[in-house]
């Protein structure tokens, strides 16, 4: 049974159909890639799933529960974590405090001692332990993106959505990020990732969905998707 199931999801901004009649599912334990040209509606789709913006029509089910129409905090507590295309961190806090926020609020009835212990573990997991007392503004972009991942992990998600976590990273950092994504999946968390870095997408995703002008134009394994004519035309071949 898929962990996430979306049917007929649509969102328009004024006359612009940012996402239109999209059906898709995410299987438990997979890494699903979401690709498409700029403005295709990828981030909007994340916003619709996470509850950041309300959908115009359609339904999204997570683990058998209807989440479309719910607020982001409820959806988070049901088990969906996310990062943002432009990193959204608590800039005035240290890295540790950022992750602690996720641990304290991400699940109901989390004790402060348990949260603090979880934070140490997660900082170690993403490789931020050494920097944990620094302020967000004092660390490079690559780490800010990783911090967002850490904060989302602290909410103990079952599904994690990563919005261009590799954008702006150098090749070494991209390799590290890929390793981290696989580690996350191996820890039992399902992942959806939006990415423009083709090498990363093709090598770590189990399945890829292609959006174009708000519509889903392809859905399959990396090999299938990369050999489809339409995909090559709108995206890969450009």
């Amino acid at each position: 049974m898929p962990i996430l199931n979306a049917t007929g999801v649509s969102k328009a901004f004024g006359g612009l159909k940012a996402v239109s009649q999209v059906d898709f599912h995410v299987a438990e334990g997979e890494i699903l890639g979401l690709i498409g040209p700029n403005g295709a509606g990828k981030s909007t789709l994340f916003n619709l799933i996470s509850g950041a913006i309300p959908l115009d029509s359609g339904t999204i089910m997570f683990d058998g529960v209807k989440i479309s129409g719910k607020k982001p905090d409820k959806i988070c507590r049901l088990g969906i974590g996310r990062t943002f295309q432009t990193a959204q961190n608590f800039a005035g806090m240290s890295l540790r405090q950022n992750v602690l926020m996720g641990a304290l609020f991400g699940k109901k009835g989390q004790s402060a001692t348990q949260a603090a212990a979880d934070v140490d573990e997660i900082l170690d997991f993403v490789g931020l332990t050494e920097l944990c007392d620094k302020q967000v503004s004092d660390i490079p972009l690559a780490y800010q993106k990783r911090l967002e991942v850490a904060r989302a992990l602290a909410t103990k998600p079952r599904l994690l959505m990563l919005d261009e976590m590799m954008a702006g990273l150098n090749p070494t950092e991209v390799a590290e990020a890929m390793e981290l994504v696989e580690k996350i999946r191996n820890s039992g968390i399902t992942v959806i990732m939006i990415e423009h870095v083709m090498k990363a997408i093709m090598s770590i995703c189990d399945r890829i969905i292609v959006l174009h002008h708000g519509q889903k134009i392809a859905d399959g394994t990396p090999q299938e998707v990369s050999s489809m004519g339409t995909v090559i035309e709108v995206y890969l071949g450009q």
Binding site: D73, C76, N89, F90, Q97, M101, A112, T155
Partner: protein
């Protein structure tokens, strides 16, 4: 920023602020024995400004949602005093006014706190105007008058009532700073999107925070109304009252509890001094001080104090090595 949430240990640093406040409050409560009546009246006014500035900073400080609604709740408090003052003792009038302010703030919060940033500020600004005109209309329509008399209350009693309110709001402010609720408010101020997506019910936190920061304003309005014997909607809903806490908190620094306290006290004292000593130049000097504060003291008076303190500590460390 000090969240204190991950460490359970008690230490001197933690007990010091509430301990010192308690001591200061006890000393303050002895004041009427030593000073003249005139001084008590002045002190009442200073303390009421401290309460208002601390209240304002509870919500607007961490979230950055600048509220200009103080005059609305202060004015409602004044009307509570005018209407109920003949029938009920002042402490009870203050409690009723506080509860009414809390509930009205809840309702306003539900309506307005989906507005972000400057739209929220503009709405709260409009709220004061709305209430002023609404009450003016109600008065003319139903009681046939423009204004009302406020029963006067002995200013020593007013002093103790205000001091009690100060103790309550300081305690609340302190507890919030140390709680998860306080962290949620800070999170909203730092990034509302991030806060919502890690499980913080941002609407609930904002509405509650706004209400908590409003009730003491209503209570103080009721107490302070007793020193004027006549109010009308123009006097009660005076926009200046909305700007005062903002300026005071900026002046003192709003990220710590002492910030707005010191800001309000210094500010209210300065205002008093300038009005009596150089009334012609009062507004000019006052304005100049504000501009200097905004330009050169990004973290207010307590910001400089903090910096000086850090430098001294740093110097001490170097000397030891």
């Amino acid at each position: 920023m000090n969240t204190n949430i991950s460490r359970g240990r008690l230490n001197a640093k933690k007990i010091a602020p509430p301990g010192l406040s308690l001591l200061a409050l006890i000393l303050l409560s002895l004041l009427p024995i030593f000073v003249t009546d005139y001084t008590i009246i002045k002190i009442n006014s200073i303390i009421s400004f401290v309460i208002i500035a601390v209240s304002w900073s509870i919500f607007s400080g961490p979230t950055g949602y600048i509220s200009l609604s103080t005059a609305a709740f202060y004015g409602l408090g004044m009307y509570a005093s005018a209407i109920l003052g003949n029938h009920l003792p002042l402490p009870l009038v203050m409690v009723i006014s506080g509860i009414a302010s809390f509930i009205i703030a809840l309702i306003i919060g539900v309506i307005t706190l989906r507005l972000r940033g400057v739209y929220f500020t503009i709405f709260t600004f409009g709220l004061v105007e709305l209430l002023r005109n609404l009450i003016l209309w109600l008065e003319i329509k139903f009681s046939g008058t423009r204004g009302r008399f406020v029963p006067s209350v002995d200013f020593q009693q007013v002093f103790y009532c205000i001091l009690g309110t100060l103790a309550i709001i300081l305690l609340i402010s302190y507890l919030i700073k140390r709680s998860r609720f306080g962290l949620a408010l800070i999170g909203i101020g730092e990034s509302e999107d991030a806060a919502a997506h890690i499980g913080i019910n941002t609407t609930l936190v904002k509405v509650l925070g706004f209400s908590i920061s409003s009730f003491a304003v209503g209570a103080v309005g009721a107490a302070m109304a007793t020193r004027t014997n006549y109010i009308d909607p123009g006097i009660a809903f005076n926009m200046l009252m909305s700007f005062m806490p903002v300026l005071m908190a900026i002046f003192g620094g709003m990220s710590t509890i002492p910030g707005p306290i010191i800001g309000a006290a210094v500010f209210a004292y300065l205002e008093e001094l300038l009005i009596t000593k150089v009334p012609e130049y009062f507004m000019i000097i006052f304005g100049a001080i504000m501009i200097i504060a905004i330009l050169f003291l990004p973290n207010g008076l307590t910001g400089i104090a903090g910096k000086l303190f850090k430098r001294r500590k740093g110097a001490g460390k170097n000397a030891n090595t």
